[in-house]
């Protein structure tokens, strides 16, 4: 099967760098923000990281980052059903497509994508809650889980943008990045 990508040295280095960053975000999310989360909720740094990487690397980079991020966070933070690689991959791929062909890449666009993408993230969370805790009321889930998770993730996301952007600039010299 021809997967239509070339593996270069810089590409491998870039992938390893992003993997390192994602590992750092995974550790930060589970060991630090799990104790000091905003609105008593742990922000989903990995999801925000996937969207940010997809902005700079396109749909291929976003998709791979999504798989890696989902796998990493399930490795240290998950137990039982391991669903996150799939939605993370889809989000990274779709956001990458949108960034490449429809929107300019700047902070405002990134922020808009974050705000919209996390709505879908919370829909996924709601579906997950309805599977593992079917007796939970929608109002309780909305008030106690979805809203806090949304706002804590959206507010923590700029940290990832300003950490990933210098790395992306390093590997994309010559391209204008906002």
């Amino acid at each position: 099967m021809n997967l239509n990508f070339d593996i270069k040295k810089t590409t491998v280095l870039k992938m390893l760098t992003y993997l390192g960053l994602l590992c750092f975000f995974a550790v930060l999310q589970t060991a630090f923000f799990s104790r000091f989360g905003l609105f008593d909720s742990t922000p989903d740094l990995m999801f925000a990281g996937v969207i940010t990487i997809s902005m700079f690397e396109g749909e291929k980079g976003g998709g791979i980052a999504g798989i890696a991020a989902g796998f990493l966070i399930e490795s240290i933070g998950g137990v039982g059903l391991s669903l996150l690689p799939l939605p993370y991959m889809l989000c990274g791929y779709i956001c990458g497509l949108c960034f490449n062909y429809i929107y300019n890449r700047n902070f405002a666009t990134w922020a808009l994508f974050i705000l919209i993408s996390f709505i879908f993230r919370e829909v996924f969370t709601l579906m997950y809650i309805s599977i593992i805790r079917p007796s939970t009321s929608f109002f309780y889930a909305f008030r106690s889980v979805l809203l806090p998770e949304y706002f804590s993730s959206v507010l923590a996301a700029p940290l990832l943008y300003f950490l990933i952007r210098p790395v992306a600039k390093l590997f994309h010299r010559g391209r204008s990045l906002s």
């Binding site: 590992c23 589970t30 630090f32 399930e74 391991s82 791929y93």
Partner: protein, 279 residues
Amino acid sequence: MKRFFGSNFFIGLLIVAIILVTVPSVLSFMGFSGYVRNAFGVVLTTLQHPVTFVADAIDGYRMYFREFDRLRDENIQLREKLLALEDKIYNAQLLEEENNWLRTYLSLQREHTDYQLEPATVVGREAGNYMTVFTINRGSLHNIKVNMPVITPEGIVGYVAEVGLTWSKVSTLIDTATAVGAYIERSGALGLVEGEYSLRDQGLCKLDYLDPEVDISVGDRVLSSGLGSVYPRGLLIGKIVEIIPNAYSRNLIAIIKTEVDLESLSQVMIIKSFDVYVE
């Protein structure tokens, strides 16, 4: 749409994602973690240790301020409680003093059944180092009359010198205008206790008109003789602290320290009536 989602790359990604969802889930339900997931777990949990250490440090710092606020609030509450309890203790002490006073009053009444006693409080004093006249809160409304003796359980204080409606002025033993017929308890020698200007500031008075051959010594107790009908017989006046010869006659003078501490007096009793001593 087909160009984007039908591409080989996307299909490959989708397959990998599905594998990464199903295989770890199945292994997890079977109780296994999978080699790759296990390896990542080992590496990442190792990296979690320093981050957890930093989080613990920040949490400890944050707890310090939380504890500080909590302790400060607790401190304020405890201070208020303490003030309230101190008030209670103070009131309890006052009640205890009053209770002791009333017990003494009752025992004195039982000891001297002929006395008609009226308790009173000292409300004013003469401005000076040693009080010779003070004001009490009983007057003619309470059937107090001039010349009534004023005592405490320890002994004689003085007599009522002036009476108002709700107040009276009491002249103490050490006042120069006071004279009390007295006797020495041990020998029975009679004399007259008077105030002396030079002794007043020291809280002393003198026992005069003592016979030069009288049996007297320092430490002897001096009691009221009952002669003169102002004071009942047998009430303690004080103790002899010094004996000196009278410069102008052959008599002896005994310097007496009053038994009652006139400086710290707060509660007294007025003897409204008693059986007069007849020799």
